[in-house]
Amino acid sequence: MIIDVNAYLGHFAFRRLRHNTAASLLALMDAKSIDKAVVSSAAAITYRNTQAGNEEVAEETKGHHDRLIPFAVINPFYAGWQDDLKICHDEFGMTGLRLYPKWHNYTLSSPCCRELVAAATERAMVVSIPLRVEDSRERSWLLNVPDMPLEEIVDLVKAHPKARFILLNGIGYTGSPLGRKDNGLPSNYAIELSRLSAVLANEIGRLIANLGAERIMFGTGMPFNYPDPALVKLEVLDATEPDKEKIRSRNAAAWLRL
């Protein structure tokens, strides 16, 4: 089984996405033998009111929860986020969040964000954080959104030891405490592999050595990205089959209680 913890539905403001409906994403997943995917709204990245994007994803994934696992995009600086969180969890069955602090103009250390993480943790929801949405070199002339620095993540995981974080679209963990052995940090975060190398610098292999395969999860970033590069990583990764199986699905299944 393959579980992708990094997938999306809907439109993105700055580039046309293919495979961005439930039907077309499922067809792509079938073609690539990906069994389940965690999805959130791509439109909510730039919507002011992210709940509109969550509603679109809730509608789109109706009847597909066996394969599409919806996550909510919540902006803790926007009015009514507590209501949105409750609706997303209780009514839409969303079992996790995606946060975009740089896009939504807040910091992970802000009290509102900490309150949101605490509320999500209270509900046993997973909190995932895309460290970037797209490569900054291709950004629109309208904006300049920086990548999320890893040091800000370090402070967050320390502050919420009972929370569970999945870090998406990141790289360079082995140069940060997050990817170092015996780093003194809680084991409350997992790292998704779509931007990590499996050959040459082999960051995935180094993270397995430092943190254990239990902390790595498979993800593609589809439909922003072709899913194939991440699949190729799994194929060429020098790791034991039990470790690969953890990365492919077991870790995500445990965290998502599938």
Binding site: R15, A31, E134, V199, D228, E235
Partner: protein, 299 residues
């Protein structure tokens, strides 16, 4: 044949991944007969990475790093790597690019048939650059010329290099990027529009626009190069945006795309696997087109 999912530990044998996956890459439409055809066809396909780099020897691990590149190529089924060695700082000095080319020549000897060499020069050293190209391309069998960001490709100082490349019948791989902001660290950065302009000035030249998937707004670059038939587009780069290879093939044609990694190995391979193109087109991109370019070399 390699498949996308395996239940046992896999260490992919050399030259299997891309070729085997070419059939898989037909996607949901693939029928067993189509797979067989693709698989048979794919076995004939030589895979050439048009954009690779060797490690600068100031790095203590340079030899191991070069070995890792070959090992990665083995795992990914890449037959040949067209390599340059770049200086760690730009603009490159005369001594700087000369020693880089010497190291490239050494690597061609260490990995015969696997490493092909680009001769890297800073065109600002006008006479010396031409001598360096004649020595390495003309006498030492380098396959092409690599230009970086010392000058925008439309500056007259670059023209003698292009004219020599035409004379030798070899391609120029030109670093390129288009962002919608000024890139301060690369003030003379070339983009697809510049390359199209150079291509119009020299229609006999063969130019390769580097890393459409690591050079900013790839949609802009592809559109800028639509009407520049003597510019090839290199698919390398760390960006794996869905649709990029597909759009490039739709706009300029698969005959003008050349596969590359630029050290982003799984990204390079995965994008070609993921593109919704025929196996025949993928074969062209993976190696057919580059092989054709290399055959233009004059004696």
């Amino acid at each position: 044949m390699t498949v996308l999912r395996t239940s046992a530990p896999v260490r992919l044998s050399r030259r299997t991944l891309l070729k085997g996956s070419a059939a898989v890459a037909l996607g949901a439409m693939a029928l067993s007969s189509a797979r067989a055809t693709a698989s048979d066809s794919a076995r004939k396909c030589k895979v050439v990475d048009c954009h690779a780099h060797l490690s600068h020897h100031s790095r203590t691990a340079w030899e191991a790093d070069d070995r890792k590149l070959i090992d990665a190529a083995d795992k990914l089924g890449i037959d040949q790597l067209c390599c340059s060695t770049l200086t760690p700082r730009w603009p490159a000095t005369l001594d700087g690019f000369r020693e880089c080319n010497q190291w490239t020549a050494d690597a061609m000897r260490r990995f015969p048939g696997r490493v092909l060499g680009y001769c890297y020069v800073n065109p600002g050293y006008s006479r010396e650059s031409l001598e360096e190209i004649r020595r390495h391309v003309g006498d030492h069998g380098f396959m092409g010329i690599k230009l970086y960001n010392e000058y925008t490709c439309t500056e007259p100082v670059v023209f003698p290099v292009v004219e020599l490349a035409i004379g030798l019948g070899v391609p120029i791989l030109h670093h390129a990027s288009h962002s919608h902001y000024f890139v301060e660290e690369q003030p003379r950065l070339t983009d697809g529009g510049h390359l199209a302009e150079l291509a119009r000035r020299y229609p006999e030249a063969t130019l390769i626009c580097a890393h459409i998937s690591g050079g900013g707004d790839w949609e802009w670059t592809i559109k800028a190069l639509r009407h520049a038939p003597n510019v090839m587009l290199d698919t390398s780069g760390s960006v794996t945006d869905d649709g990029s290879v597909d759009m490039a093939a739709a706009v300029v044609g698969a005959d003008r795309l050349v596969f590359g990694c630029d050290s982003s190995m799984t990204a390079g391979v995965g994008k070609i696997r993921g593109a919704d193109l025929s196996v025949q087109d993928k074969e062209k991109i993976l190696g057919g087109n580059m092989t054709r370019l290399l055959q233009r070399r004059k004696a």
